[in-house]
Symmetry: C2
DNA sequence: GTTCCTGCAAAAGATTTGCAGTGAC
DNA sequence: GTCACTGCAAATCTTTTGCAGGAAC
């Protein structure tokens, strides 16, 4: 088991070790996404590119509001509507994964099927979100998917509990 | 662009085999829940009881709107606010599980840790939600949880894809 | 009788949509 | 030059909150 810690308040900020081993990936996620959008007939506007680049850097999922304010902090302002529009386009072509882990907020992150693929731990008390990976779990999921009556496109696992900081406090 | 809304009402209808083997459960979930609420100091109002009974009958998760309209159809009207308040109380004492599975809608279902425990399949196209169980997956989850740095309270697995009806159509 | 539960209506957010100007091709 | 992309403001929808009357204890 390989858990990445996050110092931050809500989302995780730790760079992922996996990001280094890109041998099997021809290009970064943002380039793949830009290509996918181009193939689907979209033009390359400024807002869209800024959002793609931001998402590509994130180790874990962000909300639409976080995406907008983070871009704003970098002097690359983008309207909220554009954030939602780009999220919808990306999800449509399967490059984005929604992560819905409570309080009605939706988070978004690049859908990575190879290195970078992970699941989430959520603290019930502080709401912190952390990524984790577990190879045994992946094997079990693959086996389970084989016997399911649908053509599986993706899976998502969320584990909830009191994180170490909260349960000791 | 005219985006077709997923049928929403389309929750799962399959009766669960597990519902029959209740030998280890002393009482129904709604009775346990009523007891839990009483222990936590809540009184037994009419709206609360109606909601508990409805939830107990459901094979899978419902949205707040569905809960309200289903009760309405049974001539047991309850305000939307009460639905949300009861959901919050039940979640607080761990008897209710939120199922957040897309399009910003939140669904709720009884949290069953023994028989009745299940996970979800979601069809990307028609939005249908179906329960499934897999013992190998449960074992893998238990093993994974043992090594996690948080006191685990629950887990949730969502598998997405095109269901058999949609992929053949 | 006191305190909690409910429904109603208003409020608060998040997300979506209509429209007009600007930018990509 | 055309059509897509973007921002703005308004609209929509879900969920939360304030308050007053009624119910549980």
């Amino acid at each position: 088991m390989d858990v990445q810690r996050s110092p931050g308040v809500d989302a995780c900020h730790t760079p992922r070790i996996d990001d280094v081993e890109l041998s099997s990936q021809p290009s970064s996620w943002s380039e793949q996404a830009a290509q996918g959008l181009a193939d689907a007939g979209y033009r390359r506007g400024g807002a869209r590119r800024a959002i793609l680049e931001l998402l590509d850097e994130q180790p874990c999922a962000l909300t639409a509001v976080e995406i907008q304010s983070e871009l704003c902090a970098r002097n690359r302002e983008v309207s909220r509507a554009s954030v939602y529009r780009v999220m919808e386009e990306l999800e449509e072509i399967g490059l984005l994964q929604r992560v819905e882990v409570g309080r009605g907020l939706v988070r978004y992150e690049p859908a990575r099927h190879g290195p970078g693929h992970h699941h989430h731990l959520v603290c019930d008390r502080c709401g912190r979100l952390e990524p984790f990976t577990d190879e045994g779990l992946e094997r079990a999921i693959r086996r389970a998917c084989e016997r399911l009556p649908l053509r599986v496109s993706e899976h998502e696992i969320v584990i909830r509990g009191a994180c170490s900081a909260c349960s000791s406090a």
